[in-house]
Symmetry: C2
Subunit: 320 residues, 2 copies
């Protein structure tokens, strides 16, 4: 990791230091207020078919526990996501369980026996799918097809955050956080859902999934496929008891949380519609800026920056 700045620059860098805010001058809205005020046109509805609904067994008090996952759009991880659609259609996860909860890391679910036969027609993926190569004005999809993106100035990346510890930049595209460096890849932020795998060159099938329940383990970027994010009910996984075995695996079957069913959203009756704040919208730009420069009343010194996982893309139930 090269030192890009000399120590003297680090120690004497007072000129760039954010100054305390003069509170009385302007009323700055909080990020949540910006989101609440965003016009309806800035929101994008998520198709029910792109949701994965996981119902866990009720808790000890009988409370239902639903986890709602949004699957990633093309060009991201479509092979794995195709497998996940097949697994859900085959009701493959019904009767499986949450098998692992490791504090400040991941909750993971799948078949505890690791012997349940997979459905027919599962695609075998390769690690080349971890990173999406692209040149200046188009994206090359996993299946070889290409899509043009308006350029210049590449507007979908106009919220690039250059100060990233894991790449020369990070940004948002199609509503998702990505690292950018000779290509792009989704980032392991809180609540992101990925494909468990064994050692390389195994890249996992999609049958074993996990979600991030702690500080972003960005070292997993480009080493595991991400396929979606939890948009509701993450607390039903993040507040589960931690496993006491190696890597947070539960030592006994009784400790596991049973999975009642996993279905694609279009197979579930009575589901609310969900929508996310377009990362191409002016509201999102304002929101991201406010996340990086908190000036609402509690704050004394705006940070002057934010890492991409501290700018979660707002998702909500669509107002009816």
């Amino acid at each position: 990791m090269p030192l890009a700045l000399g120590l003297s620059a680090l120690l004497l860098g007072g000129a760039a230091d954010p100054q305390p805010v003069a509170k009385q001058e302007v009323a700055y809205p909080a990020p949540g207020e910006i989101v609440a005020a965003a016009p309806a046109a800035d929101w994008v509805e998520i198709a029910a078919k792109d949701l994965l609904i996981m119902d866990l067994a009720p808790d000890a008090k009988g409370k239902t526990r639903r986890v709602v996952i949004q699957l990633m759009p093309a060009p991201f991880s479509q092979g794995w996501i195709g497998n996940i659609r097949k697994l859900a259609a085959a009701r493959w996860w019904d009767g499986t369980a949450v098998v692992r909860v490791q504090d400040n890391y991941v909750a993971q679910w799948g078949d505890p026996t690791e012997k349940k036969p997979l459905p027919e027609g599962m695609e075998v993926m390769s690690e080349s799918g971890y990173t999406i190569p692209f040149s200046f004005n188009h994206i090359i999809y996993n299946d070889g097809s290409e899509a043009s993106i308006p350029s210049p100035p590449f507007p979908k990346f106009d919220r690039v955050l250059p100060q990233d510890s894991y790449s020369v930049g990070s940004g948002f595209i199609f509503g998702w956080p990505v690292g950018i460096q000779g290509g792009m890849w989704p980032t392991h932020c809180y609540g992101m859902v990925g494909v468990g795998r064994n050692l390389s060159p195994d890249t996992g099938t999609g049958a074993e999934l996990y979600t991030v329940i702690g500080h972003a383990p960005r070292h997993l970027d480009r080493n595991i496929a991400l396929v979606g994010r939890i948009i509701e009910g993450v607390e039903n996984l993040s507040s589960l008891p931690r496993g006491t075995g190696d890597l947070g695996f539960y030592l006994t079957p009784e400790e596991r949380t049973p999975i009642v069913s996993v279905r694609l959203g279009n197979e579930v009756g009575g589901l609310p519609a969900y929508e996310y704040l377009s990362t191409e919208s002016k509201s999102f730009t304002q929101y991201a800026d406010a996340r990086a420069n908190r000036r609402d009343p509690f704050f004394i010194r705006p940070a002057g920056g934010a890492d991409i996982c501290n700018i979660p893309v707002p998702v909500r139930r669509k107002k009816v």
Copy 2:
């Protein structure tokens, strides 16, 4: 947030792109293996008086729940920490409770009534204590005294990470993670413990404390005092049910987790000794490099960097 790099640099930055690892050439140890192999001389024992032991009421199955907090050394936050010592000596927290658990953010504890009288002699702190100013070769302490640090080349900062989203640099000093920009300040990483407060210019007394249980909310740096970190038992807070009120506060007293007692470590019998890996040691340098460049067998592409909160300082029970 200025764009320090043009988009072309971002998109064409392939030269700096970490390459896939040739697996067979060298066996790289995992970070945990480096820590396990660190010689005894690289570990620093934590004095019992610098520990704060919080015992929560047992869980529904009767399991005891202890949270062990290491208080920060000078020059950090010593006024607040002095108050915390007084509160513990006065048994002030006994009978208080965990009042708030907000997913992907914080767990917070203190007096639910907010009316319990504080002990005599509490110090009133100011926000100037959030940042530790220093010049090239010495630190100015909160109380005005100064300590010299060997220079050049300022060896205690030789693990500075320049790619930080929140400052021109970040690093480790005295075993703690800090942001660096015209001064230094502790960073809001997972498990760090801070002082709850109301609106500015209130800076909190230390009676209301919280810990980070999600992605690092670094926007709180320099806006709240950090006073320590949880070195054991964080899962007893991070796996609690989330509060359903605003900001994750519990809506009913029954939902709160009672605090049986909070004591300084030197007042608790039978406590194991704890030690942390010196951030000035060669082992820590190797560990930090391995966190930023995972080359152990699971990994395909080392990240080439890490944010400071993804390099947690190793702490363990001292081997006897």
